[in-house]
């Protein structure tokens, strides 16, 4: 079963890459871009048929490795 995870920086944590992308978009005449936050996307193939169990495993993985909870939030989608 494939589980998808999105990791993003927490609100309030500076995202210099997002800022640079926003400024570039603004410079390309996408003037209405007000903010960009960059994140990470994972697709994890888990050998598990039960969706609830698979998601709970991935939740553990997020806490232990995929996200650093000091600055990042994660969402299992």
């Amino acid at each position: 079963m494939k589980i998808k995870v999105i990791v993003t920086l927490k609100n309030g944590v500076l995202d210099p890459q997002g800022k640079a992308i926003q400024q570039t978009l603004n410079g390309m005449n996408f003037g209405n871009v007000e903010d960009v936050r960059q994140g990470k996307y994972f697709e994890i193939e888990v050998k598990e048929k039960d969706e609830k169990k698979a998601k709970s495993l991935v939740d553990d993985m997020c806490k232990k490795l995929l996200a650093n909870l000091v600055i990042e939030d994660y969402k299992i989608v």
């Binding site: 944590v13 500076l14 210099p16 890459q17 640079a20 490795l65 995929l66 650093n68 000091v70 600055i71």
Partner: protein
Amino acid sequence: MRSSVIIFPGSNCDRDMDVALKKFGFKNQMVWHNDQSIPKSDLIVLPGGFSYGDYLRCGSIASKSKIIKSVIDFANSGGLVLGICNGFQILTETGLLNGILQQNKFLNFICSNVYVKVKDKQNKYFKDLKKDLLELHIAHNEGNYFCSDDELKSLEDNSQIAVTYCGVDGTENEKTNPNGAIKNIAGIFNKNKNILGMMPHPERMIDKYLSGEDGSLFFKNILDNFK
């Protein structure tokens, strides 16, 4: 004094560290990350570099490697653990030190000499150090130290801030902050101050003709405090 330098795939300051430690009389050994245990040591060093290509987050993969359990046990038993640059990043990812090293504020790789102010001397690294300012070298893309407000307060309350970026006259402000680190932090301790993580490289400042010798002072001081 016996020391061990841990080598991860992608470490690139391990040999510099070996040269520096031996120059001042440490009995140093190199330890591979896949080893189960560390030879008897008084100091363990996690060197600089790009362990595992900085994949996922700097230091995150190395913080789960086989040898780390021994490093954590050693640290928790009070042993001296020094993490330089990528070693500092690994220490924050293991949770031995608070916070995280984020990408530099202006997205640039910085390679330059800097001055750092020694903020605390009640520890085995800086006790009786004759200088308050050291000229050291930094080379990093992710050195922008960040932690929560609560963690910062706790670092300040327990004098866990080890070194901060400053000017040649000791001024600490935005101008003397190369990477955007919170409070100009260049290095921190754990609560017991046996673990030190810092971005600047003392091992690059050990030759009077090539670089300057403030790194020499640092290594000699650790030895003097051990005697």
